[in-house]
């Protein structure tokens, strides 16, 4: 009887509610979905076991492979541009007195917008008839052709990444600022005495001391970039011609457009394995002593 009231058990009773809710909403359906990856279910008919056939098909699916590649590009894009911009901004912001709050509000504003709103704004700005390039063209400035970058296969993925980046980077700015505030002023003064340039101060004082936050931001970007869906789907649905297709949109269209539920579960399983892999890397790094 006492085991029910041991310290450990009580600690787990506190966790049980959240575990139950989360399990029921996320884990259980996901497990069911994983189980479906070994079937060829179409969502309403009979469920037939087909073994690993879905995975063999995925190997040959050129659009799935495109999606994988696009996700990798997406992650790389988000690991570079927003981080660089956010670090720069945060660093510059910590050095000014006037207008800090105003700037922070400006940078963070896009993050508060729902994805549909951000997409609506940028779709409009790039609209071939009403948008900025069209307007410039009507005034005689023919620098940018009045073509929406969401509709050209060469640029669609990058255009979508731009909109999502525009929405997201304010979050990074805010995180980095907080980290930089914790850096002791005296260190900068010491660097000033040594005659360090702005860049050197950043590299040798700021960066090392915000490392935990920086590593965290890297981890969260990688993890959040795997299921990326909203912006791609709203802006291009993965098109044109699969040029902006990512894993989550591929999964969605296989399941809900083509009724290949079993097949899409296989995609989901692979995404899941990919995630576990990334998380484990960070876990290993943590064990090795990196502060995460």
């Amino acid at each position: 009887m006492s085991i029910f009231f041991s310290k450990n058990s009580i600690a787990w009773y506190f966790i049980l509610p959240v575990l139950a809710v989360h399990f029921m909403v996320v884990a259980l359906p996901s497990l069911l979905s994983l189980a479906l990856c070994l079937t060829d279910w179409n969502g309403f008919g009979k469920i037939n076991y087909v073994g690993f056939e879905n995975f063999y098909e995925l190997f040959d699916d050129r659009y799935f492979k495109k999606a994988v590649w696009h996700n990798i590009i997406w992650t790389c894009l988000f690991l570079t541009v927003p981080i660089a911009l956010a670090l720069t901004c945060a660093y510059l912001l910590t050095g000014i007195t006037k207008g800090q709050m105003l700037f922070r509000l400006c940078f963070f504003f896009p993050y508060m917008l729902a994805s549909i709103i951000s997409c609506q704004i940028w779709k409009y700005i790039f609209h071939p008839l009403y948008g900025l390039p069209a307007w410039l063209n009507s005034k005689g400035i023919d620098l940018i052709p009045a073509v929406s970058p969401f509709t050209m296969k060469e640029t669609s993925l990058y255009a979508v990444a731009f909109v999502d980046g525009w929405h997201f980077w304010g979050f990074l700015v805010v995180i980095y600022i907080t980290g930089m505030y914790q850096v002791d002023n005296s260190l900068y003064e010491a660097a000033d005495i040594e005659g360090a340039t702005k860049f050197q101060k950043f590299r040798f004082v700021t960066l090392p001391l915000i490392r935990p936050i920086f590593i965290f931001s890297i981890m969260i970007i990688i993890i959040w970039s795997i299921p990326t869906f909203d912006y791609v789907w709203i802006l291009t649905q993965g098109g044109p011609a699969y040029s902006s297709e990512v894993l989550a949109t591929n999964l969605y269209s296989q399941a809900f457009d083509r009724f290949n539920v079993g097949y899409s579960s296989a995609i989901g399983t692979l995404m899941f394995i990919y995630t576990i892999f990334i998380v484990s890397i960070f876990g290993v790094l943590r064990k090795l002593g990196w502060e995460i």
Binding site: P128, T151, A241, S253, R258
Partner: protein, 209 residues
């Protein structure tokens, strides 16, 4: 035709323009015609309400030799059906009977939607159609009835094709337009999907003509 800009002005414009954009263009002489189904009758008529221009429609020509004069395609925009596992199918049947019991009311309702949204499952003649229905729509009703009466109709992909080829025909077509795949490879993929659907017994039944 696409490269010359006949279609929406450019391939990219085709992707970018939406329902309201192309309706606006059509109503203001920006576009000469739209390839679209009868569900647009309402929006089109509304667009031309204030304009001195008039609109009309024509059926798609049949491209192969020896076919009928025109292609009319049946889709299923709306369906009122009795669920096979319904607890009270007789009651449901009664409701359906009631809805279609008064021909005048039904035709009135359909007229409000300019007859484009659904096919009315009742016998009626040209005289039964309300006065204020536009002449273009009236002509459609008469000619469509004639064509279907002769058995001259086909089926739309999104209603009657199995899911995979049904999506492939419009989504993967973009890949052909982008030049990323040859037409032969595309047709080969398409055939594979049909074979798979046939094997799994997923072909949809179509009623006899």
């Amino acid at each position: 035709m696409v490269d010359d800009g006949y279609w929406s002005g450019s391939l990219e414009n085709y992707y970018a323009l939406g329902w309201d954009d192309f309706h606006a263009m059509f109503a203001t002489r920006g576009a000469a015609m739209m390839t679209i189904g009868t569900w647009t009758f309402g929006a089109t008529a509304a667009g031309f309400a204030d304009s001195s221009d008039e609109w009309d429609w024509a059926p798609f020509p049949v491209l192969r030799d020896g076919g009928a004069d025109a292609a009319y395609l049946l889709a299923l925009g709306t369906t009122m059906s009795i669920n096979a596992s319904s607890g009270d199918p007789d009651a449901a049947a009664k409701v359906l009977d009631f809805i279609f019991s008064n021909k005048k009311v039904v035709l009135d309702m359909a007229a409000d939607f300019n007859f484009g949204e659904f096919v009315v499952p009742l016998y009626f003649s040209a005289d039964d159609i309300r006065e204020d229905v536009s002449p273009q729509v009236k002509r459609y009703l008469v000619e469509f009835a004639e064509a279907t009466g002769k058995g001259d109709y086909g089926y739309t992909t999104w209603t009657f094709w199995p899911a995979d080829p049904g999506v492939h025909i419009w989504k993967d077509m973009e890949v052909v337009w982008a030049g990323d795949i040859s037409v032969e490879d595309y047709m080969y993929d398409h055939q594979k999907m049909w074979d798979k659907a046939r094997k799994k017994g997923e072909l949809l039944p179509v009623g006899a003509r």
